[in-house]
């Protein structure tokens, strides 16, 4: 479970960032949120910048993210959101590799997983977001059932820890979970 608190929230609520780290359980991990240290569509940062025509903001954004990722010991960006901006692109991935070397979740820029200049990436599946735990569990199982064995990566939004717990319980109680072969130990 990766909790995507944007690390620059520490400017407003540093004690909260410390609190969640002190209270974390072994299955809780922290990653950067959309799309690094701050909510932004990074695809809008490289030139040409469609509406503003400003110079590239990629370098200053990278330095901003480096500072906060280092401060909070984060090396994964949970999700780089493309939205209606140009898709992530190589320039944004190159920038992300400087502060998020252990991985990035991608939006439209990828339809699978792999490695970009040493940094692993994977498409973020949006199938279960904005639902109740029951609906999310059902959607997740349906989605997984439609796929060949693979790495999958899901994003949830505005779901509480208790709702996540319920989601995991429902999936683990399912027939699919109990009939599947667990192979991670073979790596």
């Amino acid at each position: 479970m990766g909790w995507a608190f944007n690390p620059n929230l520490s400017d407003r609520f540093g004690p909260g960032m410390v609190y969640v780290r002190r209270k974390k359980f072994p299955n809780d991990y922290f990653v950067g949120g959309d799309s690094g240290a701050g909510y932004v569509n990074p695809g809008n940062l490289p030139e040409p910048r469609r509406w503003s025509d400003l110079p590239s903001g990629l370098e200053i954004w990278t330095e901003h993210c480096k500072k906060y990722f280092k401060r909070w010991d984060i090396s994964i960006t949970g999700f780089i959101i493309d939205g209606y901006a140009p898709h992530t692109g190589d320039k944004v991935e190159d920038a992300s590799a400087q502060f998020s070397s252990n991985g990035i979740g991608l939006h439209f820029w990828s339809n699978g997983w792999g490695v970009h200049k040493g940094m692993p990436y994977i498409k973020c599946e949006e199938a279960i977001q904005y639902h109740t735990p029951e609906e999310s569990a059902s959607l997740l199982l349906r989605f997984v059932g439609s796929k060949k064995p693979d790495f999958l990566y899901f994003r949830t939004i505005l779901m509480t820890p208790c709702e996540h717990k319920r989601l995991f319980e429902l999936v683990k109680a399912s027939k699919m979970w109990n009939s599947s072969i667990h192979t991670r130990s073979s790596f």
């Binding site: 479970m1 299955n27 898709h87 991985g103 699978g112 200049k117 667990h182 991670r184």
Partner: protein
């Protein structure tokens, strides 16, 4: 099926990707290229 934390997931992706690339090299095939799964990267209004 198994849930893993994000750091483990990305470590596994890296290991499998490297293994696949090495296998391709050993078989004399072209190495897997970064971005082989990608869409075009064009803005949405220009299609993908």
């Amino acid at each position: 099926m198994e849930f893993v934390d994000p750091y483990t997931l990305f470590l596994l992706i890296k290991k499998v990707s490297v293994t696949k690339a090495e296998t391709a090299d050993n078989q004399g095939k072209a190495s897997l290229q970064d971005g082989r799964h990608r869409f075009s990267g064009l803005p949405p209004e220009e299609g993908k």
